[in-house]
Every structure is written in C-alpha cells, then in structure tokens.
C-alpha cells in the first residue's frame, strides 16, 4: 500500500521551537542582521511550503539548515549580479555592530565566499559536526573540512590576532 510510505511528520511548530534560534543565528552570522532577517523568513516559508512532501523525517534539523544555506548562496548570487564597483567600501560592518561581538572578525567572515562562510559559521558558531556541515553544503565531509580550512586561513590573514 502507498500508505506505508507516508512519513509521520511532527507539527511544523516543533521544528520552529527547536531550531529557529539556531537558524537565525546561523543566518545573521553568515549575512548580517538585515539580510539575515530576510533569509530567515524566506527559509521558514520555503520549509513550510515543502514540508508535507518530505519523504524522510530523520534529520529535520539538517533539512532546515540545507534550506538556510541555499538562501545564503542565493543571496550571494543576487549580490554578485547587482554588485557595483565602488572606490570606498561603505562603512564595513556598520549594520553588524549590534549583533556580533567582534566587528572586524564578522565583517571578514561575511567577505568569505559563501560556502566557506557557511561552513565556518556552522562549525564554530553552532558546533555542528563535519558530517552535518557536509550534508548541509551537499558535499563530502572532506570538502566541508576544506571549506572550513580555507575560510579560517583567510580569516587569519585578514584579522591578525
């Protein structure tokens, strides 16, 4: 019977209660407070839209992070398309000041390529294991580790300890 394939999904509210805070933290860290708020709302709406057709309820947290990661990538592509070269960067980190402990560092994080940024934030802000970071990025665990390594090296160059 087709019925045996139906997955028992918890109320979407449970996902929000358990994961919304970390999703929000991840997105604010990755793209800043303003874009983070937008990406967060887009993530929730996209997740709710797709939720009933999920075939597997084993890793709902991972599924939500995958959606949030895609929002980071989408935003980076949009920004790249609309980017206008400017002589002086407009007050780097200005809008980030209220939400992050270290302006220089987080400004540098947000200059990383999106995959490295996403990987670094997931690994060190949210303490996610490499296997989960890899699942979110849709790559191998080694690739996730390489993204983190490259991101860290660049951060160390840009923000001397």
């Amino acid at each position: 019977m087709a019925l045996s394939l139906v997955v028992k999904l918890p109320p979407f509210q449970v996902l929000l209660d358990e994961h919304a805070a970390d999703l929000h933290r991840f997105l604010v860290a990755a793209v800043g407070p303003h874009d983070g708020a937008d990406c967060f709302q887009e993530t929730v709406v996209a997740a709710l839209r797709a939720y009933p057709s999920l075939r597997n309820a084993d890793n709902l947290r991972g599924w939500l992070f995958t959606i949030a990661h895609r929002k980071v990538i989408d935003l980076a592509r949009r920004n790249a398309r609309h980017a206008v070269p400017v002589a002086d960067p407009p007050e780097a980190g200005h809008e980030d000041r209220d939400a992050s402990g270290d302006d220089d560092l987080w400004a540098a994080v947000r200059r990383l390529p999106p995959k490295q940024r996403s990987a670094v934030v997931q690994r060190f802000l949210l303490d996610r294991p490499y296997a989960e970071v890899a699942a979110t990025l849709g790559c191998s665990e080694d690739a996730a580790r390489q993204n983190v390594r490259a991101g860290l090296q660049r951060l160390r160059e840009e923000v001397p300890a």
Binding site: P10, Q13, V14, A21, R49, D102, W106, R145, V148, L152
Partner: protein
Amino acid sequence: MNRPEDSFDHAELGRDPARTDGTAPEDRTDDVDDLARTNGLAAHLAAGPRADRAELDRLVAAAIARADADDLVDVAWTVTDTPIGPLTLSATPVGVVRIAFGDEDDVLDELATQVSPRVVHLPSRLDDLRRQLDEYFAGRRDRFEVPLDKRLVKGFRARALEALAAHVGYGQTASYREVAELVGNPGATRAVGTAMATNPIPIVVPCHRVVRSGGALGNYGGGPEIKAWLLRLEGASILL
C-alpha cells in the same frame, strides 16, 4: 559555468573526491579545528551573534504571516486562558477544527497526523473565536458564530453532534437517549455517549449539555467539574 563561490571546491576537491564515508584520518580533523583553537578564532567565532528572543519571536511571527498569505498554514493554533483553565484553539482555513482542554502538545501532534503537519502558532486566525469565548464565559453570549471545520468527525457521530447543536440550546440539557432519538436511532445511547466523548470542538459544539437520564451529569472530556461549571454558567438546572 562561472560560479565564483564554487571555485574553491573544484580546485581543492579533486584531491580526494571519492571519500564520502566520513572516515577522514583523525589528524586532519584535529588539524582544521586546532588551527582555529590555537589562534583564538574558534572562541571568537563561538561567541558570535546572540539570538535576541523578542526579535526572534517577531521574525517567526512575520514569517508565519507571510506563509499564511501564501495559503501555507493548514492549521493555526493558539492557547487562550479561561475561567476553566487554558484552552488550545485551532483552525484550518475552513474554520475552527479542534478545541482542547489544557495547553499540552499532544493535540498539535494529533492535528499534524489527522489534518496536516503544517501546524503553526497563528493567533490571528482565532481572534473571533477567542473574543466569543470571552463573551460566553462572561455570560454575554449564548451561541457561537464562527465557521467550523468538521472534518475530524464522520458518520453517526457527526449526525449526533449536528442534532445536539441544532436542538439543545443555551441553558438546556438533553439526555443521551433524547439525542439518540433526535438522530432517529433511540437505541444508540451508547454511540451518542461516544460521539459526545470524542467531540473535537467542545463548548462551541455544546456536548456539556448532554446528561444522564434523570439529570446526573455523566462524563465530560474536560472533567465533570467543568461540565457542571459550564451548565451552572448557562443557568441549566442540574442535580449536584
């Protein structure tokens, strides 16, 4: 294909593209994390953006409002406080689908299974019901005027609840047998009892008005004390 954000992976990944089983050598695990720990980056990053609870609640509510505008909220719920304790109210786009005594999560699990897993906190959809309940509990309302979604009850039970709602008004009571007669099946008192006990929308669909022959209260989903309280509120004559 010129996707700058992917260029790193294509360049570096070629070294070991086959490894997907998570069996990376230990030294490389430590290598990457240690790099961050030794120079203090890990601690800095771990102390990054803090979630502000009020801001988060506001963002979640805004996201749910957006989802609702896209018809993505299949079940909206909220909890309201009443003189008989908290009630969990829920509605589909069709109407009120379930009222549960208390504020336990079980009812959300049931709704996720029986209606749709798209169950989220959206109090605005229940504003009318909440206002009418306030008026009812204040003794200023003797009937409810909200659309109902009756999908959780079928067949004989649905007919028994319909008959009750149509014929047994505020301040009145009926026996299980009388409701059975209203449905045209006088022998089905036990089935009427089951229909009342499993009424998904108590108070609004007034199963508290169905009592034992002779006037004893009988059972109630919210407990016999609440049944008595509701009947007293309505000024019904009851034994006890």
